[in-house]
């Protein structure tokens, strides 16, 4: 029961650190410290990915033959930790290399693999995942985007939603309905598409938090070749499951302020009965947040231990977002309320901690929904971890077109 690397892990970490020390500095010298969402930031990200690929630090667990390093999952985690410490993490490639390209590798023909894998590893091309739809939500397979065969082409019409990075991506994997006359999971097919096609339109979604980080993507008579198909016609759901299984092991901490920031805030505030930090109710909340945060941190350590031992991690890691998203909402709200009437202010120049609590308060509702709602995650724990029965399914044997729908 300790936190030390094994000798092999320590050696790898040492090597990674040395490489990072040198290369992060060189990278920064070239690219400076551009602000996120700027073109300069994207360019820096691509350059960093290319540098990693050249040194065998991109896609560490992939075979060397396709641009990886033939490494272990724990090596990948270790590099990620050191990379984050070195301050050179870029999020652009996570979904493409973690989910999309592995799907391409599993289902595309050799020409397609040859064409796409290497540029993706080197950061030259970025991929997005086009599954979610307005009518889908938690029920992903209820999607309605239609592909109709027309000679050797397919013609696609419909809409995707909440697509991360759609506006900067080059390619995407797209799940569509090719047969509405069979039950919902059986009429789906997967394609790869060119996001620059004129028939593809990205519109940013205006979120309740005020930002526009996600997209709707509309397809109007988009023509794709049958050779862009990934897997068989009607096998799209099986292909999508492979994509989702490839979802990268989440070993990072969650974003946003935590108990430390609230403690810092409370130090300077007066509360109901003297200093806010001396308020016992506030202190008990601090304790609960600390305990949960530590619980998640050490749960990640347990996951890494399984990786380190060459085992498949257990289902412990599925508890993360249920706790962290709800806690962020509660923590942010408590911090805002502790500021009194002043808590209403959102100007970063005025509000304590540059209005981080106010921003988190508006973000947290999205965190509780994105990537699986609280309710879906509890279903997953109940069914996949505890082995309890699934919900009663009325849609298993009904043709998709006959399924009741609402909005």
């Amino acid at each position: 029961m300790d936190f030390n690397d094994s000798p092999e892990e320590a050696a790898y970490r040492e090597k990674a650190r040395a490489w990072l020390a040198e290369n992060a500095a060189a990278h920064r010298a070239e690219h400076g410290d551009p602000k996120p969402t700027t073109p300069e930031h994207m360019a820096a990200g691509k350059a960093w990915q290319a540098r990693k690929a050249a040194a065998g630090y991109a896609c560490i667990t992939w075979p060397a033959a396709i641009g990886g390093a033939g490494g272990t999952p724990i090596q990948s985690v270790i590099f990620g930790q050191e990379e984050a410490k070195a301050g050179v993490s870029y999020g652009y490639f996570t979904i493409g290399l973690g989910m999309c390209v592995p799907t391409v590798m599993a289902f595309a023909n050799d020409d397609t693999k040859k064409r796409f894998v290497s540029p993706a590893v080197k950061g030259e091309e970025i991929w997005c995942q086009l599954f979610s739809e307005p009518a889908g939500g938690s029920d992903v397979a209820a999607l309605r985007t239609r592909a109709v065969k027309d000679g050797d082409d397919w013609v696609i019409n419909g809409q995707k939603v909440w697509t991360t990075g759609a506006h900067y991506c080059d390619y995407g994997i797209l799940l569509v309905r090719t047969d509405p006359d069979v039950p919902k999971h059986k009429g789906l097919t997967m394609f790869w598409i060119d996001m620059r096609d004129a028939a593809v339109e990205c519109r940013p979604i205006h979120q309740m938090s005020g930002g526009r980080e996600f997209n709707e993507v509309y397809f109007t008579d988009l023509r794709v070749k049958d050779s862009q198909r990934l897997g068989e016609v009607g096998q799209g759901w099986q292909v999508a499951l492979v994509t989702l299984m490839n979802e990268r092991l989440a070993v990072g901490g969650s974003a946003g302020p935590d108990y430390r920031q609230v403690m810092e805030l409370a130090r300077g505030l007066s509360g109901a009965n003297g200093p806010a930090l001396k308020d016992q109710a506030f202190r008990e909340k601090l304790a609960d947040w600390y305990v949960n945060s530590q619980g998640l941190k050490f749960t990640r350590f347990r996951t890494m231990t399984a990786l380190s031992r060459g085992q498949t991690p257990g289902p412990e890691s599925s508890i993360g977002k249920i706790i962290s998203a709800n806690q962020l909402q509660d923590l942010a709200n408590t911090a805002v309320e502790a500021q009194g009437e002043y808590g209403i202010l959102t100007d970063p120049a005025l509000a304590p901690m540059e209005a981080a609590f106010q921003q988190s308060l508006m973000w947290a509702p999205g965190l509780r929904i994105a990537g699986g709602t609280d309710e879906i995650l509890k279903n997953i724990i109940a069914e996949r971890v505890l082995g309890l029965p699934g919900d009663v399914r009325v849609d298993k044997d009904v043709a998709f077109k006959d399924m009741p729908t609402g909005r």
Binding site: G137, M208, N273, A338, G340, G343, L345, I369, T373, D395
Partner: protein, 371 residues
């Protein structure tokens, strides 16, 4: 036993709902939300004035309707349901009520008719920074009838013509009426969590200040004013919470997943049941507050605290879980969930956090139990 709105009061409430459905759909709320230059909807304000709501509880001698406080609660409930983007609370629940309860005859004559006519917007200026303002932290001061200091934030401060300002006078805290249109007042609009309500920084440099009530009683007066306002705010919160439950229910019924409406899943059903339970607890406590406010009962401090605590809890829960029931749609700007989420925070922050009211409630219970 007659612990509910009367038939007349129900009629008034129904009429208010119809009026607001016509005059304050969410497009009106969004008109203020999306335009940084506007801190309230002046068309709606004028219409509300015309309905007589601003003077609903103001005696007829001051050109009000002279109705009871329960009628005002009914109006508040509907304003909350509509997320009305107007400075009604600051003007009616706070300034008008404060002047009626604590003002001199001259002050009443100067303030109340103007409020009833829709000519004067009020605000309460106590905060001077993050956290709770206390006798030892209070900086604003009045010397020779002239006020100096900075109040931040002041809800509706950018729309208001008159402020109630907490300030020291001769080293003792007092409460003062200040004409914001006179000289020595600087008003700056600030960004806030709920852009459908205005928030400002008021800087006073020798502004004329007219004391309300006795010298040295500033904090006691603010508390007495907030006791009254808390009951009325609780009805706004209750109206908002009810609407969140309705919206979540309507959405859930119409949304299908895995071949059936999500309203049939226990996770959703029980969440909506939890909302209902909290809303009913809030309603019952609010009614008791309305009774205490209406008859000026000695139980007002505990009744107001209980009403505010229950209503704050219900609105927060309903507004955040309504987003959750709406799923991804609920997180978009275009769906109305966030209007309620924002307003629930505004209403919890504006007259003392639930935490402060819990402390006040238990202090009162201690006194009662000791007696």
């Amino acid at each position: 036993m007659d612990f509910d709105y009367s038939d007349d009061q129900k009629f008034l409430k129904d009429e208010a709902r119809k009026f607001l459905a016509a005059r304050c759909p969410s497009t009106v709320v969004r008109g203020v939300l999306d335009d940084p230059a506007r801190s309230y909807d002046d068309g709606l304000w004028a219409a509300v004035a015309e309905q007589g709501w601003l003077g609903a509880a103001i005696p007829e001698e001051y050109n009000g309707l002279g109705l009871g406080r329960v009628e005002l609660c009914a109006i508040a409930e509907e304003l909350g349901r509509a997320v009305a983007p107007i400075p009604f609370a600051s003007t009616v629940y706070i300034l008008a009520e404060a002047v009626m309860a604590h003002g001199s005859d001259a002050q009443k004559a100067a303030v109340l008719p103007r409020i009833a006519a829709g000519e004067l917007i009020g605000c309460l200026a106590t905060s001077e920074g993050p956290g709770v303002v206390t006798p030892s932290s209070l900086q604003a001061r009045v010397e020779g009838g002239k006020l100096s200091g900075v109040k931040i934030p002041v809800t509706d401060g950018d729309a208001a013509g008159m402020a109630l300002v907490l300030a020291n006078e001769g080293g003792r805290p007092g409460l003062f009426l200040v004409d914001l249109k006179a000289s020595g007042v600087k008003v700056e609009t600030l960004q806030s969590l709920d852009p459908t309500r205005g928030v400002a920084r008021l800087t006073f440099e020798g502004a004329s200040a007219d004391r309300l009530g006795e010298p040295g009683q500033g904090f006691e007066l603010v508390q007495a004013i907030l006791d009254r306002a808390a009951v009325l705010l609780a009805f706004e919160q209750l109206g908002g919470a009810d609407r969140c439950l309705e919206m979540a229910k309507e959405y859930a019924l119409g949304r299908y997943a895995f071949g059936r409406t999500i309203a049939g899943y226990q996770a959703i059903k029980h969440k909506l049941a939890d909302m209902y339970v909290k809303n009913e607890v809030a309603r019952s406590n609010a009614y008791y507050g309305a009774w205490a406010l209406n008859v000026d009962a000695p139980e007002l401090p505990t009744a107001a605290a209980a009403a505010r605590i229950a209503a704050s809890d219900a609105f927060w829960f309903a507004s955040k879980e309504s987003v959750q029931v709406h799923g991804g749609m609920g997180f978009t700007w275009d769906v109305d969930c966030h209007l309620y989420y924002r307003r629930s925070r505004q209403l919890s922050l504006v007259a003392g956090s639930p935490k402060l009211w819990k402390e006040r409630l238990v202090s009162e219970l201690e006194k009662k139990n000791a007696a």
